[in-house]
Amino acid sequence: MPIAKVNGVEVEFEPGMTVLQVAELAGEEIPRFCYHERLSIAGNCRMCLVEVKPGPPKPQASCALPAADKQEIFTNTPMVKKAREGVMEFLLINHPLDCPICDQGGECDLQDEAMGYGRDDSRYSENKRAVEEKFMGPLIKTVMTRCIQCTRCVRFATEIAGVSDLGLIGRGEDAEITTYLEKAVASELSGNLADICPVGALTHKPWAFNYRSWELKKTESVDVMDAVGSAIRVDVRGPEVMRVLPRVNEAINEEWLADKARYAVDGLMRQRLDRPYVRIGGKLVEATWSQAFAAVAGKLKATAPDRIGVIAGDLSAAEEMKAALDLFAALGVKSLDCRQDGSAAHPKWGRESYLFNSTIQGIEDADAILMIGTNPRTEAPLVNARIRKRWIRGELPIGVIGEQADLTYPYDYLGAGAASIAALGQSDSDFAKAFAAAERPVVIVGSGALARADGAAVLQLAAGLAKSGGEWNGFNVLHTAASRVGGLDLGFVPGEGGKTALQLVEKGGADVLVLLGADEIDLSATGAFVVYIGSHGDAGAHRADVVLPGAAYTEKPGVYVNTEGRAQLAERAIFPKGEAREDWTILRALSDHLGVRLPYDSLEQLRQALITDHPTFGQVDYAPGHSTAGSFSLAGVGEKGETAETPFASPVADYYLTNPIARASRTMAECSALHATAGRAPMAAE
């Protein structure tokens, strides 16, 4: 490997690295604004100047300069310092001195670098330029006078998000970042624009003027808005979650975060269930915990176990599902289900049959992708970003069976329904040939294909197209609910003679229904006595006869298993609201009232029981991926059966309103309304 000298220290580096990267290898920090390791190189801010020998006797932009063998790089010479100070002075000519009222203040790259390279005064006596604010949608607030034209946002939108909405118009001093005629940025990843902006030009509109970054308590956690399980940091002040930011996790979200995960948090302060309610005379009346438990226990005791049903919702942590499972198994209840959408995914065909086996990072190794009944752009925006990342590298045939949506990359559309899966085997189209010849093909089956009466048959058809063996398992199920894989791992599915979630809510399906935050299931037909344990006053609580207030995902420690089968720990950032309790403790207390006391008194004991019974929960941050490819047989997945002609439909009709937290969020409501009008909202800025 070539060797370069950085400030006299020899460093070995890989061919193709830039001078900036080599300097970082040597531990030298290079200031930069336009350079971002996940974006293309622009080289226009000039902050990363260094001195290089051999070379012309002038400072060089290290981000855009390929390093060479035997090169000498100097990052701390007087020339370098003077050059960077010059660049900084030019950047600050037109940058307003509004740091005290700027939301980026305290976490601003320009502010930080100005400490190192800025002058203490300005030599500029002309007028500063002023730039009009731009409308970019309800999530991005612009203060364009602060913009230093690094074009990170333009490159992010074009390359990662795949929507060419942003551009740099004009030239020279009049250059401005804008969307075309101030249209909203039509991306599910738009919040990242504010993250990568090195100054305060693009900030988070919903959080504007709400906090200073240094007054927040930071808790590392896991996102539950989709089944991807992005790594997040929950920033709170007092009892309120002020914001959610992404953490770096190369295996899942890299350093990006989808908009719903980021901006739905204002829903945590609205529509909250903060005390128990009992329905008396047709009206929900405030009650004490003991009254509520008495009402539930009385009803459960008076009902035969086969007339009781338990449905877990999309945001449930493994702990409360485990507690519910143990409690209702003790009562002899068989009808438990964590698949409120009626998905066919089932643990009886092996764990691999419902996991995203290729792993999200593994998408980058794929050489062909077939998507069945899924729209990853709305169901898992970061998986879509990963597919796009792989597609940009080139030579990736992509086929789609299901909805014909704009996925931000081109694909071959192969049909709308199950018949097209079977037809693909016989087809001699270009895609079919390329897919058959692929060594590492990825088949992604979405909830839209599984949540149907013929889901098991579709699953088998899809498995028939996948390849698994040796080092590669290309069979993937993309879930939309954060709780789903955890539920399936626990075996939270109907036992022998038990009813599925959809059967339970039919007329006469059950006499008592216990909902663990299940709000996405149609309760209009059921005549059952409904017990709702959850955090938000949504569909479930609306129909409930007893409401037991639980904790939202930021308010309880919990294990969530993402679609890859990766168990991850969510931490508690704030306490539950009012009288609400962590969900598993509610079930533990209820078990006392029912006389079948659960054998754990603390979270540690519960987790110990969880890991003992289901060892996969103990493998935190581990996804099995391809390691089980050898022992996994695709032939045993799903069931043979007739398939219906109805086309696959994505379960996510409105990306911004998929769960009770998002539905309680004002920001998400605004996004949804704007999305419905195709991004044109002339006066929606306020």
Binding site: G167, I169, G170, R171, G172, D174, L181
Partner: protein
């Protein structure tokens, strides 16, 4: 150079004329499949030729034609100063060079004339016939001061000749382009001062060349080679 933004008042629609469209197709065909966006600058020129300026509907139409995001066409149109983003005079668009040599030779006086006869810089005159602009060097410094009017250079101008030219355009005439100081192209004032020997031009001084030095031997013509 002024701030380059779209005009406030825009037409409802834009359509390529048959001629513009066929020329556009010729340009697009020059680039390989998938690289049609490369034709954006020539096509912006064609549209400007057709309409006199580049309107917002035209930008959208070009983006659709080339299969590229509208914002990318918008970036190009706002970057290059030769693209007019507002309607310009129907009779003449006068671009007075304001860079150093022209300025030293009296471009300021030309601009005063324009201001008096047409009005403010960068704006359509009241009758809609004229627009004048100050532009950067047009590369005719030898004939300073000069102005580009529509497609031609008018050189060695004075306040009087500029007035005359504007009057001629207003009267519907087409004033002769080129130098107004009575010289041929950029010859010295008063005619050529060197290379005056007529023998230079009758061939009598030259010797026939037998072979070019340092040239490789010509290859033999291949039989059946493609013509």
């Amino acid at each position: 150079m002024s701030v380059r933004r779209l005009a406030q008042v825009q037409p409802d629609s834009f359509a390529f004329s048959a001629e513009t469209r066929s020329l556009a197709d010729w340009w697009i065909a020059k680039y390989p499949e998938g690289r049609q966006a490369s034709a954006v600058i020539p096509i912006l020129w064609l549209v400007q030729k057709q309409e006199g300026w580049v309107s917002e509907p035209a930008i959208r139409t070009i983006a659709a034609l080339l299969g590229m995001p509208v914002i990318r066409v918008f970036e190009v149109a706002t970057f290059y100063t030769m693209f007019q983003l507002e309607p310009v005079g129907t009779k003449a668009l006068i671009q007075v060079c304001g860079t150093t040599p022209c300025m030293l030779r009296g471009a300021g006086e030309l601009m005063d004339v324009c201001k008096k006869k047409i009005g403010d810089k960068d704006h359509l005159s009241a009758d809609g016939n004229f627009t004048w602009q100050e532009v950067e060097c047009l590369g005719a410094c030898v004939n300073a001061p000069m102005a580009q009017i529509n497609d031609y250079y008018y050189e060695d101008l004075t306040a009087e000749t500029m007035t005359q030219i504007i009057d001629d355009f207003a009267a519907g005439k087409a004033p002769k382009p080129g130098s107004y100081a009575g010289r041929h192209t950029s010859e010295p004032a008063g005619g050529a001062k060197t290379l005056g020997d007529p023998a230079l031009y009758d061939g009598s001084l030259g010797e026939p060349i037998k072979s070019l030095p340092n040239t490789p031997a010509p290859e033999k013509a291949q039989e059946g080679a493609a013509s």
